[in-house]
Subunit: 522 residues, 2 copies
Amino acid sequence: MTTCAPELLSLFVAYGTTHESPDVERAVMDGLARFFAARPGEADSADDLGRRFADSHMPSGATVEAYLRYLFDDVVPHSVPVHSPHFMGHMTSALPSFVAPLGRIMTALNQNVVKLETSNAFTFYERQALAILHRLVYGRDQAFYDAHIQHTESTLGMLASGGTLANLAALWCARNVRLGPKGDFAGVRVEGMTEALRAYGCQRAVIVASSAAHYSLDKAVDLLGLGRSALVKVPTTHGGSIDLALLEEALAQCEREGSLVLALVGVAGTTETGAVDPLSPMADLAEAHHCYFHVDAAWGGPVLFSEKHRGLLDGIARADSVTIDGHKQLYAPMGIGTVLFRDPETARAIETNASYIVRGGSPDLGRRTLEGSRPAMAIYLHGALHIIGRNGYRSLVEEGISKAAFLARTIESRPELELLAEPQLNIVVYRFIPKALRERVQARSLDRDGNDSINELNQRLQEAQRDGGASFISRTTLRGTRYGADVPVVVLRAVLANPLTSRDDILAMLDEQIALGDCLAG
Amino acid sequence: MTTCAPELLSLFVAYGTTHESPDVERAVMDGLARFFAARPGEADSADDLGRRFADSHMPSGATVEAYLRYLFDDVVPHSVPVHSPHFMGHMTSALPSFVAPLGRIMTALNQNVVKLETSNAFTFYERQALAILHRLVYGRDQAFYDAHIQHTESTLGMLASGGTLANLAALWCARNVRLGPKGDFAGVRVEGMTEALRAYGCQRAVIVASSAAHYSLDKAVDLLGLGRSALVKVPTTHGGSIDLALLEEALAQCEREGSLVLALVGVAGTTETGAVDPLSPMADLAEAHHCYFHVDAAWGGPVLFSEKHRGLLDGIARADSVTIDGHKQLYAPMGIGTVLFRDPETARAIETNASYIVRGGSPDLGRRTLEGSRPAMAIYLHGALHIIGRNGYRSLVEEGISKAAFLARTIESRPELELLAEPQLNIVVYRFIPKALRERVQARSLDRDGNDSINELNQRLQEAQRDGGASFISRTTLRGTRYGADVPVVVLRAVLANPLTSRDDILAMLDEQIALGDCLAG
């Protein structure tokens, strides 16, 4: 009778015990302490890093201690301090410290929330967290929540591994609802896109959003069999939100050419500039054109916590579905997207059953999720909603918006810098202008060559700052700024979501950029 | 100048420090210890649990300590001991204890592997882990791995949050490769399904797999715009693997009716019975019919670690892509699917770029993944491959298969039980036969009524054992057993993947079932 070797078995036996080995514990804590205390150094080159991870042979085995030494010596020091108050370039932030104990619990329990049998309480716990977010967005009455929060046939929302999947799940619902059964036609879910277009008598089916919408929409129309050309991208105003007049024109054009608009997608907080689309007029248009209305509030959703700013998102409660990311402004770790549905029946359109796992009529969450087996990531969401709470989130959101305004005003006061759009939320886009061109920029007489040279300079500036390692601002290329729809403008992009970033940090980061810019401009 | 309240800020400041508060640490360890030491009690009813999580109001905030008390008092005790050696019903197991420190590191660093700028070393580290698995499956030569392991334009594999997404990503590639650009047609990716069928001159496009394939394929054909009717399900042999003669017939039928076969999917370890499809003859058929060949080895892939058993998967290296789950027989926590590609160019077919996040030509992993922002879950995969290693996995796999054979032989030796299929891997399906019907079962003269009553009895037996809480075996309903293609057979399903499950545990579980069966049969 063979059994596994004792050392191997002991790895598994130890899993259920109370304490990790003190050596392991110490190695982890010391290793993390070294990382968090390290002064940022120069960034590694991709080639150097590639060479470190070039062996593809199956390892023969190692002790936990040896592997941790390897991790902390060879991998962790070459990761990115995304928590740093000086790294203002990404939608990642320092996290609240309670994510560590919650993560410990999640991994130890290793529940699989695809079905009740492997999650039990965590099924209902996840539904509760989603209902709390649903209430934040839709604010239905108590009777509504009493009826639906734990009703097996109701889906107030679903968790996904990120915003991309949340948007995809929403648009999957949109397509299946809009192209549902009709007469002899069993619905797009059963018969596919070609039969659906035939049954609905249209040339093609499209999804309409602004050109600033997230690239997950490009993936979604590809995946859903519509094709990337079926994503109608409407230009934005200079501020980065959808141009309503052009949107009306695009919708009319779709009608003229026999294209069925499956969904209109509004963005509440674009990735590039944090702009919010005018959701209320968009809801009117969606209603008028009988299309599904989805709002991608992956970034901006938590603004709803602030009485002061929530008006920016007016109309969001009229959306058929809303995406909000947990790992962005809900301050949970990576891996949490949510999509909320106004109508608890919507997600029926994507239901799948299987006798061995997700049985029809059961409380199994996997009946109506894009993913199958999933961890109980809801622990981060439920935990953060309860610990940070309403007041904590309000304060985090308001502080970020206030810091962005501070940065915008500072930029305006510096002749070396140009603000490209007034921030609506907590993302600021701007660029460095070399001395020789400042007058022309101020006089609005910059020509294309001048703009190109500023683009090139800002790219080098951003890379130099990144490679220096002391602070980080991201960059992107905007179109549709005041310079015109076809003029690419390379901008520096600051995201002010980290509560540890102070106004002094912001000033120091700008000083560094101006010094770098002056130096690079020669 | 507003700033966040000090208590709120302190949550974030503490994130970067070396040690959690000792109170929090103790609360977590004591809470987990109570859970792991608890004697299983009766299972809670879904209604009772629903009532515990019925409040949807936004919480006002809480201390970490108070939230942990709530978790350990009200949630954790009502979760499922999936790690227990007596829970042999699921594809979850006890985990190696090193997942705790690795999880701690992953959450603390909170890298986002969508792009280099927020992950750096972890981009290359993830590619390395995938290359090791690629080598396990495809075993290409050293020059191949030297050329591709870290080459920006090569994709040996991708990580996904689970097997469902891994299969979806593979079939997304299959569809886009098979319906790629042709003459004036820009490819299904750009123009969608309807134009694709027109360009390729076919009535419909289908995917072919056995009726025992995972339900993620039903989701995939729906999502991809093919429709669920486009999943051609070929019956299985009594053993649960695809019937090759019927498969040939199905492929010929597709040809006759002008259906384009986008992909043939083989299963290496079905969810229900662990059966392995004959991959080598399937590869021949895929070749003959010019279709993409995907193998879903989410469960069975790690059998490749065993020289003794890997012959079962002969032909897998001819697949265009292979799914292997990390959270199944690689013993990583929930949330890790992988898909590996024979041709490093395949995933080009699903590439998406965006100037603000995943730039064309960059090493950014997000260019060719289904998901966008993602955590560095590769830490569990890379860690387990290195710590458990080749010999550890071989031993785990062989031990599971050996225990399944032990269970099968024991079942055969007990007149109260009927084995429904000889296990190929480590999953065993069987049922309890009440005394009154044993002779008829042995004489193969059971009629439909008799079978129905056995089904009903086994359902009650499984539920009674589950509700008792001491041990757990899952159940499913098979069709295509020796009782005929249309006869549903409710079976008990044991999964022998937990290295802590001993042969004595298996015998005790069977004794409990026989006692329950006798009692329920009256």
